[in-house]
């Protein structure tokens, strides 16, 4: 749908200053990592001496007041040793991360510099290596470079490198394929400038983020190697080596394993939580808005017994004072096709979602009246709603489930809501597919959605709505993703289907010209409200609202005078959180007076079967 509520105004921006979210998890991560760094700096000078103090009288002790975590085979205090080992553990992890990260970034960047064949060779090797578990690569390297800290660091570095190479490759390829790099190339910007000006700045942030996360992984990997006896060897010691020693005594004094185990776990958790929080901060886009009170809907008056759909004072609100639909009213008679026109952000798609009960959480829907076939939508059972209301969305690629056969998706409605058997439901599905002029419907029913063209898929979605006997079809931009020639066919089909079944339709679109092809009546939405309503036959010549008129004038058609400039509307539509007390269009309107920005014009009858909300229309 074209109005995705609050986020719609922050699309694809990158955050100005990625700030860590203040969640307890993020804070815990930051605190743990800060503590690790402090330990690495201050640990050895403070506890270095006691960690090395040999005490023949206190060999292999368990926990005691003097030695809270016990002592080792030379009587050295294990708590002190754990605190001192922090520096070495972190330093090794840092070294491994830098080796792996650097090697990976170089390997990942090389293919974009080298000619085809070596580039492909490197890409292929990286792809093969990525599939190998890191520990396997690390052990291989450790065998070759010998047991000890050096081998383990190299090994973990080698284990980290392929992932970095892959990430660098993907990121660089994405940026290199972007329109702005194409534009720079056309402008004759040098390769080096493109690399330093566009590619590096745009890939640096995710790479640095990845380095932080890899640091935690390297620390755990090195601890694992040392724990297996393949890493740090005595007399050096890191947390993994201390755990190795402690594990040998676990049956006698389990507490001696506690210190190094806790240190490793806390370091791992700290880096992971911080990494998560940083990744979230980098991906987050700003969202704002201020709270406001929701108005109580006024008295809706008498219901209209003949209407298929009657909506009075429909309001859709989101937390933070964002109200994309404000007090909207509309009535649709049987067999009538009503067009709801507006630009993105006008609230037209949310109106459709509210009628269908599909407003996403945390949106709230309030209304004076919302009657479908004379009954309150809230009291209708799922079955009644599922069979009287049919919906068609914009993208036919996305409206059908790619995993299921077309026929099965249609038959589902008959089976679930109408109690039809499998064979009967399938027969009906094929019949409906034929009804929307899908060639060879029986064969199409057995196919998966990706085997159908866009136009055919949209026909299938319409057929799905016709499985039951809908009283109302809501079509939300059903032709926007289609080519004009296909669009015309689908519009005809919709017309045909409503005439035949007597169903009414609510047709939602941003394209006011399409309305003329299909609808009986049109409602124009602006900033969450209907500003004008009139029969389509009078739209071109007799529209009264300045916005409707400007919209029509700014749209070139096949009769537009090519020697005159097109009308254009200055400024932009206010966001749902910015709408003031007056007319929302006042800022962009040539006719606006002081009254317009102070007081909102009501939607009042105007002309034949029309309504308009404007102070300046007399």
């Amino acid at each position: 749908m074209s109005d995705t509520p609050p986020a719609a105004h922050t699309r694809r921006g990158f955050p100005m200053k990625p700030r860590l979210p203040r969640t307890p998890a993020a804070v815990a991560g930051a605190v743990l990592v800060a503590a690790m760094i402090m330990l690495a700096v201050a640990g050895p000078p403070i506890w270095g001496a006691s960690a090395e103090r040999i005490d023949a009288a206190a060999i292999l002790q368990g926990a005691s007041a003097a030695h809270p975590l016990g002592t080792d085979s030379l009587g050295r205090d294990l708590l002190a040793r754990v605190l001192v080992a922090g520096r070495f553990s972190l330093a090794l992890a840092l070294a491994a991360t830098l080796i792996g990260g650097l090697a990976g970034i170089v390997l990942g960047a090389l293919p974009s510099v080298l000619p085809g064949r070596p580039a492909r060779l490197i890409t292929g090797t990286v792809n093969a290596l990525v599939a190998f578990p890191g520990l396997l690569l690390a052990m291989f390297t450790a065998v070759v470079s010998g047991l000890g800290a050096r081998g383990a660091v190299l090994g973990i570095g080698v284990a980290i490198a392929p992932g970095f190479a892959r990430l660098t490759q993907t990121l660089a390829a994405t940026v290199a394929g972007s329109d702005y790099v194409s534009a720079a190339r056309m402008l004759g910007v040098s390769r080096r400038r493109i690399l330093t000006g566009h590619v590096l700045p745009n890939i640096a942030e995710p790479l640095i983020l990845q380095l932080t996360q890899a640091l935690g992984g390297a620390l755990l990997g090195l601890a694992g190697m040392s724990f297996l006896g393949l890493g740090v060897q005595p007399p050096s010691f890191d947390w993994g080596r201390l755990l190795y020693d402690g594990f040998a005594r676990i049956y006698v004094t389990p507490e001696v394993a506690l210190g190094p185990a806790a240190a490793i776990a806390l370091a791992g958790i700290g880096f992971n939580l911080l990494g998560d929080a940083m990744a979230k901060a980098a991906a987050r886009t700003a969202a704002g808005g201020k709270a406001s009170d929701t108005a109580v809907p006024p008295d809706p008056g008498e219901p209209n017994p003949g209407a298929v759909l009657e909506v009075r004072d429909l309001t859709v609100a989101f937390p933070g004072g964002v109200t994309p639909v404000r007090g909207l009213s509309l009535t649709i008679a049987p067999g009538e096709i009503v067009g709801l026109v507006g630009e993105s952000g006008s609230g037209k798609s949310l109106t459709a979602a509210a009628i269908g009960g599909l407003v996403p959480y945390p949106g709230t829907v309030a209304y004076g009246r919302l009657l479908l076939g004379g009954r309150d939508v809230a009291t209708l059972s799922g079955k009644a709603l599922g069979t009287t209301l049919a919906m068609v969305f914009q993208d036919p690629m996305a409206s059908l489930n790619p995993a299921l056969r077309v026929g099965g998706q249609l038959a589902e409605v008959a089976r679930v809501h109408q109690g039809a058997g499998r064979a009967e439901a399938n027969r009906r599905a094929v019949d409906r597919l034929g009804h929307v002029h899908l060639p060879d419907p029986a064969a199409r029913a057995r196919q998966h959605p990706h085997e159908l063209s866009g136009g055919m898929r949209q026909r299938a979605v319409i057929a799905m709505g016709l499985m039951a006997t809908p009283r109302l079809i809501i079509a939300d931009e059903p032709t926007t993703a289609l080519d004009v020639t296909v669009q015309r066919q689908i519009l005809r089909l919709l017309r045909e289907v409503t005439e035949e079944s007597g169903a009414a339709a609510l047709f939602i679109t941003h394209d006011i010209a399409v309305v003329g092809e299909l609808c009986d009546r049109v409602m124009v939405m602006y900033a969450g409200r209907v500003v004008e309503e009139l029969p389509v036959s009078r739209l071109a010549a007799e529209a009264a609202h300045p916005y409707t008129r400007a919209l029509i004038a700014s749209l070139p058609d096949m009769a537009t005078d090519r020697d005159k400039p097109l009308a254009s509307i200055p400024g932009r539509q206010p966001a749902p959180s910015e709408v003031g007390p007056g007319c929302a269009f006042a800022d962009r309107c040539a006719l606006a007076t002081a009254r317009c920005s102070a007081e909102r014009p009501p939607l009042i009858p105007y002309g034949e079967a029309g309504r308009v909300a404007c102070w300046e229309v007399k």
């Binding site: 921006g13 056309m186 402008l187 910007v189 000006g197 020639t485 941003h510 700014s554 090519r562 097109l566």
Partner: protein, 226 residues
């Protein structure tokens, strides 16, 4: 500028099939077609972004404006930096030039310090046009530049396109799936279908007396208000 026998292939698929097209100086040639017709591949070939066979004569400096204004500006560059990318001058000269270019597309000079995320879609598209103009192109290729914009903004961008031709004498290849839009801005219209140009000629002639069946089908399908 003349395009002769231009062919673009992606593997076994021929996206553009031996297209010949002339773009007279100071004129806007509109290229209309449906998705998959090869019009965007043709645009990219003319702009030197995809490999092709055939000849392109008479345009050394081609610049392109893309469909999606949200993807065509580097999010980490200010408007001024983006617009100034193709300008080869010293610091002060570049600044004045950026100001002049922004003025050409009716944007205030104060926008130079802003980032793309602070701009509306219509403003971004103007920035992209200003960036292209900075290189003083012989030909500007505009690929669906209004299809991502709201209707109320679209008109202003189309007016800008026409005024650039009238005031700067800019030659342009204007690509769109919307025949009404192409008709409004173009002097010459070429209709593309399945990789080939099936009809081309002066706008009034092609729209008024279409010779090819496909052109007629396209004309027939254009939605009309009345």
């Amino acid at each position: 500028m003349i395009i002769e026998d231009l062919t673009v292939r992606f593997g076994a698929f021929t996206a553009v099939d031996r297209v010949t097209l002339e773009i007279p100086p100071g004129r806007i040639v509109g290229l209309v077609g449906e998705s998959g017709s090869g019009k965007s591949s043709l645009a990219r070939a003319v702009s030197g972004l995809v490999p092709y066979t055939g000849r392109i004569d008479g345009a050394r400096n081609v610049q392109m404006v893309f469909q999606d204004p949200y993807a065509s500006l580097d999010p980490r560059m200010t408007v001024g930096e983006s617009v100034g990318e193709g300008v080869r001058r010293d610091r002060a000269g570049r600044r004045a030039e950026v100001e002049r270019l922004l003025g050409l597309v009716s944007l205030p000079a104060g926008l130079a310090g802003r980032y793309p995320r602070e701009l509306s879609g219509g403003q971004r598209q103007r920035v992209a046009i200003a960036r292209a103009l900075g290189a003083a192109p012989d030909l500007l290729v505009a690929d669906e530049i209004t299809s991502a914009l709201d209707v109320s903004v679209q008109g202003a961008v189309l007016n800008l396109v026409r005024s650039l031709r009238d005031e700067l004498g800019l030659s342009m290849l204007f690509i769109s799936h919307n025949l009404a839009v192409v008709r409004y801005v173009s002097d010459v219209v070429a209709v593309m279908h399945q990789g080939r140009v099936v009809e081309s000629g002066p706008t009034e002639r092609v729209v008024g007396e279409p010779a090819h069946d496909y052109t007629r089908a396209l004309l027939e399908a254009v939605p009309r208000l009345t």
